[in-house]
């Protein structure tokens, strides 16, 4: 059947062809009044744009009462997909009075609508099983066929992770036609991500974020095909992670007992992410950004001196004492057990040297090691030992770019995270050294400004740097970052979305999908779609409205 359809439509065309058709679906009625309205919206166009997509104008109708989802895989059951069906039924048809916006499209037995116009079933075929955790090697590719006449639409995927992405796309293709019916256009999609690592960083140290908000954000990540939650869980300001081995760290380092992620909270987040095909990579940043660690772990932080006296202040973690590494061994053993992902983010950014410089014990250690006054070597020594510990735990690791900038030599499979200005040069440098790179520098969403700033994020091309093809192949993706200085439960979701969607498309869709003008109407539909699903996603394109407001 699928071959037949492809034959009818002809050659599968590239993604860009669909846009002309989409414009037919733009909501026209409110533009005809001759006033300066508002950005237009597409209907039933997906975000991010698939790799290849052919859309026809033939509408198939979905019946809320009888539409069914089916899955087959090599394993007997597929919990991930079963759970996803519950979610997507809700997203497609609504599950209460507020979201149920489609008329009950009860299939007429002797009605005026042609029986063949109905699409009855979405069949998902997964080649392999559907257990386990998403990983850096997950295959997220899928194909989606909605033919002009067959009663069943099909998603084919090698892995469950691709099936999840396809299901999201399917749900986005459904829209409400002029008669209020849930419809989907006959469409063929062949999709796969451009970059493997498509991440989003949240910072729960500067301000605490509740579990509900973290989950809401994961839900939105899935709807934008993000697959990595980079959890900057602790920092100088607070230590909300409740450690098994070192419970005093959150007892003393959290803002309060209410600002803590318990073991079960962390498990819950990891599972919530897993069933959405999202990896959770925790960051335990050291040797800087670790003031909050020191409250419970005595002698971990460097004591700073002033005029030959202890100043009472503390600096980065003290690499000159063995107890430091004993602690790190135990701590990261726990982390490697709690977080199932292969990767841990080890930080390593913004290490100030002044406290180390002030401390006489550090100075003697430096002399003993033959480092002289070169504190970069001390940092390298620390990072090397930390990395050895983490490698010993069979984990991979990410680090911020400074570790490399300061000349530390790290293992060849290290992922270097680029966040500072001049990122093109840095990409050249890091990939020349043969490291994998993840780009964040242009996507710091905590920096806000007036207007449609998503266009800037959208127009970044991650591979626009000087380097060979081999170097460019080392760029495994990017992450958008929402640092927490000015963000908490009150404003995270609207501030993040749909601005992060812009980055979501950049990392998923083909390089050629790069015109912000062309994306505007589709993004507007996407924002309204997320709003309709119940998420407070803010306006980013000037005056306008959604058919369903929050």
């Amino acid at each position: 059947m699928t071959n037949k359809m492809a034959g009818e439509i002809g050659v599968i065309v590239l993604f860009s062809c669909c846009l002309a058709i989409a414009i037919c679906n733009v909501q026209q009625q409110y533009r005809e009044k001759g006033r300066s309205v508002a950005v237009t919206q597409t209907s039933g166009m997906p975000w991010p744009m698939p790799k290849q997509m052919t859309v026809t104008t033939i509408q198939r109708i979905l019946d809320v009462g009888s539409f069914q989802f089916l899955v087959s895989s090599s394993t007997q059951r597929c919990d991930i997909i079963d759970e996803a069906f519950v979610r997507y039924r809700k997203y497609i048809f609504g599950n209460d009075d507020r979201t149920l916006k489609f008329k009950t499209n009860r299939k007429p037995r002797h009605g005026s609508i042609d029986q063949e116009a109905y699409l009855d079933t979405l069949q998902i075929n997964i080649a392999s099983g559907c257990d386990g955790y998403p990983s850096e090697e997950s295959n997220e590719a899928y194909t989606l066929m909605i033919s002009q006449d067959a009663s069943t639409a099909t998603i084919n995927a090698n892995e469950v992770w691709g099936a999840l992405r396809g299901l999201e796309t399917f749900s986005q293709l459904v829209y409400q036609n002029d008669m209020g019916l849930a419809v989907i256009n006959a469409t063929i999609i062949n999709d796969a991500p451009r970059f493997q690592h498509r991440g989003l960083l949240l910072d729960t140290s500067r301000h605490f974020l509740s579990l509900d908000i973290l989950k809401e954000n994961l839900e939105l990540m899935a709807q934008n095909k993000f697959n990595v939650f980079h959890w900057h869980i602790v920092d100088d300001q607070s230590f909300p992670y409740e450690s098994y081995y070192f419970p005093d760290m959150s007892r003393k380092g959290a803002y309060s007992v209410r600002h803590v992620y318990t073991h079960s909270d962390v498990k819950e987040i990891i599972e919530f992410a897993r069933v959405r095909g999202i990896r959770v990579i925790p960051e335990y940043d050291s040797p800087g950004h670790s003031q909050s660690w020191g409250l419970a772990i005595t002698n971990l932080l460097t004591k700073c001196y002033k005029d030959g006296q202890l100043s009472g202040d503390f600096g980065p973690i003290d690499p000159s004492v063995n107890s430091t590494f004993q602690f790190l061994q135990n701590f990261f053993l726990e982390i490697s057990q709690v977080f199932p992902d292969k990767f841990i983010h080890l930080g390593g950014d913004e290490v100030p040297f002044d406290c180390w410089e002030s401390n006489p014990d550090i100075t003697s250690f430096m002399t003993m090691m033959g480092y002289g006054k070169n504190y970069a070597l001390l940092e390298e020594y620390y990072m090397q030992r930390l990395i050895d510990i983490v490698q010993g735990l069979n984990k991979g690791y990410m680090i911020w770019q400074e570790v490399i900038d300061n000349g530390a030599k790290v293992a060849p499979d290290t992922i270097v995270h680029i966040w500072k200005g001049g990122y093109q040069d840095e990409l050249t440098k890091v990939t020349k050294l043969g490291y994998n790179a993840v780009l964040s520098a242009p996507w710091y969403l905590n920096y806000i400004s007036y207007g449609s700033d998503w266009r800037n994020y959208y127009q970044v091309e991650p591979l626009n740097f000087n380097g060979t093809d081999a170097q460019k192949a080392l760029v495994i993706g990017g992450e958008t970052c929402m640092w927490g200085e000015y963000v908490d439960n009150t404003n995270l979701i609207p501030r993040m979305w749909p601005r992060a969607a812009s980055v979501g498309e950049r990392l998923w869709s083909p390089m050629e999908v790069n015109s912000a003008d062309a994306a505007t109407s589709r993004l507007e539909e996407h924002r309204c779609r997320l709003l309709k699903r119940g998420f407070p996603v803010q306006p980013v394109n000037g005056p306008g409205f959604c058919s369903v407001e929050l």
């Binding site: 100088d236 803002y255 409205f545």
Partner: protein, 559 residues
Amino acid sequence: MAVSKFGIFIFCHIHILSLTTANSKDGYDRYKALLPKTQGMPWPLPFQMTSSEDQLFIDKDRFVFNLDQRCDILSYAFKRYTDIIFGADDSTVSQTKRFSNRNAHQKTVFEFAIPRPLRDDDVVTALHVDVQGQCMDDEYPSLQSDESYNLQINPNGFATLDAKQVWGALRGLETFSQLIYNNDDGAFVINVTSITDKPRFQHRGILLDSSRHFLSVNVLKKNLDVMAMNKINVFHWHIVDGTSFPYESYTFPDMSAMSAYTRKEVYSQEDIKDLIEYARLRGIRIIPEFDSPGHSESWGPANPGLLTKCFTAGKWDGSFGPIDPSSNITYPFLTQFFTEISQVFKDQYIHLGGDEVSFDCWKSNPDVNAFMTRMGFPNDYSKLEEYYMTKLLQIVDSAKRNYIIWQEVVDNNVTVAANTVVEVWKGEYQKEMAAVTAKGYKVLLSSPWYLDYISYGKDWYKYYLADPQDFNGTQEQYDLVMGGEACLWGEFVDDTNVLSRLWPRASPIAERLWSPIGTFDVKSAEMRLDEHRCRMVKRGYPAQPIDGPGFCPHEFVQK
């Protein structure tokens, strides 16, 4: 700053007793970086306030508000503030540590150990409210409302709130609610305090724009709640604009039928009544803005002939410009329309807009030019604007309403009635304030307070430090300053983000407009503002963090 010229004696002795840092742990850097919050300090700062370190307990179970007259506004307020004060539990403290009713007849037993024997006179059991004037059921707040009050929390636990009018009593109740905090044991306490308070400016407004994006009645009500928490007393409702017309007119129902975004993005007459009443109970005036002759494209579809047809190369190009001052239908329409508006909205003032009138379309239209020649002001488009505005103001005058207009009307040398209020919104506002007041008009300031312009970091400092009387002028000119407004235009704002974007960024403006001249100490304000932000969060409003890393004891939970 011109402020020093006033030389008004300000008694504002504040004993900041409660600078206990909420995180007083070891002397680590990170804690130095975190701001301490005050406890039980009000925002905006009262005119005069003295408080001591003596804490009194508030007995949650016995506490009542007493009033010696029947007054609906205050009855509702007492109910509201009882919930506000005692509603959100401090869940860090286990229930057993707090007050409990062991015996119904013998109330107020403290189960936990307290440092000294508890006597009844350590406990506040009532706030005795006295309003001098008669409280009327159909009373609306106005520009003349007296919002002054006197609040005494005496060492013996006797607490009084005296006000001339119910509006002052409302402000005093808010202050009273803010003085109460939870001590380390989670008990409700208040410090012995004496406050004499009154606003510096009579008009303290917030502008929301429901045309660029629709705002639901529910969110507008939440915003009125937060306005009351910040003693802001005017909701300037920029209800319609070129982009959409959500106001459902009973005289011209087609206006919203044709020009609202959809049927759902409409304020019915019922909605408007509901909001006016909701605002009234909180001592807030609603001043609607129906902006013309520009910003009115959405008025056109239902009223053919109202808007100017724009011409290109001698032909109508299909587009419309400002309202057509030469059209026959214009003034009969305006008369009917503003008659309705003056009946629907209770406030003495209507905002008539008048900003950003583009002359291009008028210039292009041969009928408009013929009219101008006939009227004897060919090619003088300011005169045409003046002609329009003068007629509009006459219409509103005969509807017995006063009006506010944006500064351009005066900038374009339109002569307006002497009692016109001019709202200044453009750059170089000091010059404009001086110019407008030199002409003898009353003035409102908005320029430095456009909160739709967002930027990274602590942008509230600049809002806090702007002052409406900071311009070169005489005392007479300063006296013409009625206050100011914070504006949150709607291009990038809707239900999803309006509250978190507005609050607490509008709070510094609220303090500027309420608190005495010279309240400029940003550092001490910051500690109070952080408490105030957490207070808003605790009461259930998503006021965002604006002072860098930190936390609130009760983080925001979406209801």
